[in-house]
Amino acid sequence: MSASVCLTVYSDNNPGLLHRVTAVFTRRKMNIESLTVSDTELAGVSRYTIVIRSDSDAAGKIAEQIRKIIEVHEVVVGEEEAMVSREVALVKLPRSCSAGIAHVVSTHGLVLVSEGDSVVIFEKTGSVEEVSDALFALRPFGIIEFARSGRISMAALAERWSGPSNDTFSG
C-alpha cells in the first residue's frame, strides 16, 4: 500500500512559500521523509522535491491541495520506480582510520573532500540505498558525524513540465 512517493513542486521563488507547502503535510499529520528546494532551468521558478510515504491515492490528494497554493505552478507526482534520485552525504572520520579504508573508498566511490590534521571528510553521491550502504560500510571506522542532503529526483521520461502558463484568468 504505502510506498515512497516523490512530489515535485514548481513554484515562484517567494519567501514564506516553504511554510505554506509544508503546512499541507503538517495539517494531515504526514511525515516528510525528505525535502529539498533548488532553483531550476526556468528563471524565478523553484523546485521542491518532497518525498513522503503514502499510497498513490493519498499522494494525489496532497498534490491537489498543494496545487491550490497561489504561487505553485505545478505538482508532479512520481512513483519511486519512475524516478531517478540522487542524494549526497558528507562523512567525517578520524584520520587515524585511513589505513584500512582504501577498499571501502574504492568499492563505494567515496571522494575525499577535506583532509585535516586529525579528521578527513568523504563525500558519497548516489541513490538513497547506495548512500545508506556506504554509511554502513564506514561505521566500523568510527564515524564522527555525517550529514545527508535529502534526495533530488527527476522523472526518467523525456517530458517535463514546460513552465508557467502565459494564459491568464479571464472571468
Binding site: K68, F169, S170
Partner: protein, 573 residues
C-alpha cells in the same frame, strides 16, 4: 466636493505616502466600505483614510472579529471583496476567526493589517505578531509588504486572488515604514495564472455526463454555495425545469432555488429534510453542483450514495474526488457547467421518483413539521417564529443567522422567495457570526430587510456590535431566540449523553434593557398571541431594533442524522 483633476489622474511622478497609495488602490478596486479598528501600527493608514472619507466609508466595529464577519456579510451580498482593517498584534489576531470562517465558506475578503516597522521585524517589538505565519493555513494567500512601492501591485494581486476561481480570504500585512515612506503610485493590475482558476472541461466529459443524465431513472441535484457564488441561480432553475430533476440544497446552498418551487426537494444533511437524505441512497444519479460533500452532508461516507453515479461540477479541482469518488468531474464554474449541460439534455419528468419525495415529505410533515409550526400547547417554538417571520416578510428578507438550533430552524422553515436570502456560517460554524455579518449585509443592501436570527449564546459572543449598528444606524432587525441554553449542545447532551447537561445553562442579562442601553429599541415576546404584532412592530420601525423571543427551553431540532450514521439513518424524533 468634486475631486480635482490631480486626484482623478495623479501626476505619474508624484510621490505620495504608502498609506495614501493604499487608499488609491482601494478606490481603484471599487472599495466603498471598510470595516476596521485603529491602533499604533496602522495609524498612518487611518490618517490617510481621514482624507478619503468622502470616497470610502469606514465602519468602526467594536472588536476586530466583528470587522471580518461584517466584511463577510458585505461580500456575500455584493459578490465583491469585503475589506477589514486592523492594527498589528492583537488587532490582527482578533481577525483570525473571521478569516478562517471566510476560507471555509469561500468568501472573498481582503484583510489589511498594520505591522511594526521593517527594522523591528523579528525583535518581539511592541504589538508584533507574525500574522503571516499565523494565517498561512487559513488564507488563500497572504503577503507582507515592507516598502511603499509594493503596495499598489500587492493590493491588485490581493483583490484578484480573493475573487478568482473559488473565492477566499487574503491578508496583506503592511509594515509601518511602508505606510509612511513615499513612492510613486502606479495603477496596477494582476491577472492570476489560468492554471489555478480556470478550466474548461472536455467535451467528452460533458457528453458522458449528459449520457448518464439521459439514462437515469432516479436523479437528484445536490446544490451548494458554488451556485450562489457563481450567481447561477437562473441557470440552475433552467436546468432543473428542463430536466425535471428534483433539487436538494446544502445548508450553504440555501435560497439558491426557490423554496416553493415544485421541484424543491429540501435541505440535505444532518438537520436537513427527510426525503432528500433518505433518497440520496436510493438515487441512481447525483448531480452535485458547487458543493463539497461536507461530512455534515454525507454522514458516514462509507455508506453514502452507493447506488448512484455521481457527476460533480466544481471550480476547485481539489474538491473533485476529495471525499467521494465521482464518475464525471466537471471542473468549472457552476454557471458554465449548468449552461453546457442544459444544452445537452432533453426534457424529461420523473413522476414516480418525485412521488417518493412527496411521500417522504408527508411523513416528515406529520411527524415533525406540523407540530413545529402549529404547536397546540407549550411555549413558542423557534420553527413557528421563523415561519411567522417568513410570512411577514413574504420570504424576501436576507436572513443572517448565528450557529445552533435557531440556525437550523431558519434553514428549515424560512421560505425563500428570492434566490439570495441565506447568509450563515456553515463550514466553520462560528458562533458570534450573526450580528456583525448582518451589519455588513445590511450596509451592502440598504433596500432589503435584513433579519439577524441568533441564539442567546451566540448573541453574547459579539453583542458589542450593537454599538456599531446603533452608531451606523444600520436597520438590522435582530431576533434573539432565548432558550436560556446553548441549545444545540444541550440537544446533543440530551440525546447522546443521557441528559447530563454539562455547562449549557445560561443566566442571561435583560436583553431588552441591553439593547435599549445601546439606543436600539427592543421588545420581548413570550406569548403566541403577541408574536405577529411584535414582528410587525419590528418590520415597520425605522432603523435597527431587537426582539427577544422567549422560546421553549428544551426543544430539539429534528430530523437528525446522528453523528457517524449514514444519511438514510436520519431520525424523525
Amino acid at each position: 466636493m468634486k475631486p480635482t483633476l490631480d486626484e482623478i489622474v495623479p501626476h505619474q511622478s508624484e510621490e505620495i505616502t504608502g498609506a495614501e497609495i493604499l487608499m488609491r488602490s482601494l478606490v481603484e478596486h471599487g472599495v466603498d466600505v471598510v470595516f476596521g479598528y485603529p491602533g499604533g501600527a496602522i495609524m498612518p493608514v487611518y490618517d490617510a483614510l481621514y482624507h478619503y472619507q468622502d470616497r470610502i466609508r469606514h465602519v468602526l466595529v467594536r472588536h476586530e472579529q466583528g470587522a471580518t464577519h461584517a466584511a463577510e456579510g458585505y461580500a456575500r451580498v455584493t459578490g465583491r471583496c469585503g475589506v477589514a482593517l486592523a492594527t498589528s498584534g492583537p488587532g490582527a489576531t482578533n481577525l483570525v476567526t473571521g478569516i478562517a470562517d471566510a476560507l471555509m465558506d469561500s468568501t472573498p475578503l481582503v484583510c489589511i493589517t498594520g505591522q511594526v516597522g521593517r527594522a523591528l521585524l523579528g525583535t518581539d517589538a511592541f504589538q508584533e505578531t507574525d500574522i503571516i505565519g499565523v494565517t498561512v493555513p487559513i488564507t488563500k494567500w497572504n503577503y507582507q509588504v515592507t516598502s511603499a512601492d509594493e503596495i499598489a501591485p500587492v493590493m491588485a494581486k490581493a483583490f484578484a486572488i480573493a475573487l478568482a476561481g473559488r473565492p477566499g480570504p487574503v491578508v496583506v500585512d503592511i509594515t509601518k515604514n511602508a505606510q509612511l515612506e513615499k513612492a510613486v503610485y502606479r495603477r496596477s493590475s494582476y491577472t492570476p495564472p489560468l492554471r489555478s482558476f480556470h478550466a474548461v472541461p472536455a467535451v467528452e466529459d460533458y457528453e458522458r455526463a449528459a449520457h448518464y443524465i439521459s439514462e437515469a431513472k432516479r436523479p437528484m441535484l445536490l446544490v451548494g454555495r458554488g451556485v450562489l457564488v457563481a450567481r447561477a441561480q437562473r441557470e440552475l432553475l433552467n436546468f432543473a425545469e428542463k430536466t425535471g430533476i428534483p433539487v436538494a440544497l446544502t445548508l450553504q446552498g440555501l435560497s439558491a432555488f426557490p423554496t416553493r418551487h415544485p421541484l424543491y426537494a429540501g435541505m440535505l444533511g444532518m438537520h436537513g429534510n427527510y426525503a432528500p437524505n433518505i433518497l440520496t441512497n436510493e438515487a441512481d444519479l447525483l448531480i452535485a453542483v458547487g458543493m463539497r460533500f461536507d461530512d455534515r452532508v454525507t454522514g458516514n461516507v462509507q455508506t453514502y450514495a452507493k447506488r448512484a453515479k455521481i457527476i460533480h461540477i466544481d471550480i476547485e479541482r481539489a474538491e473533485i474526488n476529495k471525499l467521494v469518488s465521482v464518475d464525471v468531474g466537471l471542473r468549472t464554474d457552476a454557471r458554465e457547467g449548468l449552461l453546457a449541460l442544459t444544452d445537452r439534455v432533453s426534457d424529461s419528468e420523473y413522476p414516480e421518483w418525485r412521488e417518493r419525495f412527496a411521500a417522504l415529505y408527508e411523513e416528515e410533515r406529520a411527524a415533525v413539521i406540523s407540530h413545529e409550526l402549529l404547536p397546540e400547547s407549550g411555549g413558542l417554538r423557534m420553527a413557528e417564529v421563523i415561519h411567522r417571520l417568513s410570512e411577514a416578510t413574504a420570504g424576501e428578507a436576507i436572513t443572517v443567522t448565528d450557529v445552533g438550533q435557531h440556525q437550523m430552524a431558519t434553514a428549515r422553515y424560512y421560505r425563500y422567495a428570492r434566490t439570495d436570502g441565506w447568509i450563515s456560517s456553515g463550514g466553520l460554524g462560528t458562533m458570534g457570526f450573526g450580528i456583525p455579518a448582518a451589519l455588513g449585509a445590511a450596509i451592502a443592501a440598504p433596500e432589503r430587510t435584513v433579519l439577524a436570527i441568533v441564539g442567546d449564546g451566540g448573541f453574547q459572543m459579539t453583542c458589542q456590535e450593537l454599538g456599531t449598528i446603533a452608531q451606523e444606524k444600520t436597520p438590522v432587525k435582530i431576533v434573539i431566540m432565548n432558550n436560556n441554553f446553548l441549545g444545540m449542545v444541550r440537544q446533543w447532551q440530551e440525546l447522546f449523553f443521557d441528559s447530563r447537561y454539562s455547562f449549557v445553562h445560561l443566566d442571561n442579562p435583560d436583553f431588552v434593557k441591553l439593547s435599549e442601553a445601546f439606543g436600539i429599541p427592543a421588545r420581548r415576546v413570550s406569548e403566541r398571541d403577541n408574536l405577529d404584532e411584535t414582528i410587525s412592530w419590528a418590520l415597520n420601525i425605522e432603523g435597527p431594533c431587537l426582539i427577544e423571543v422567549q422560546v421553549e427551553k428544551e426543544e430539539n431540532v429534528f430530523p437528525m442524522i446522528p453523528a457517524g450514521a449514514g444519511v438514510s439513518e436520519i431520525r424523525l424524533g
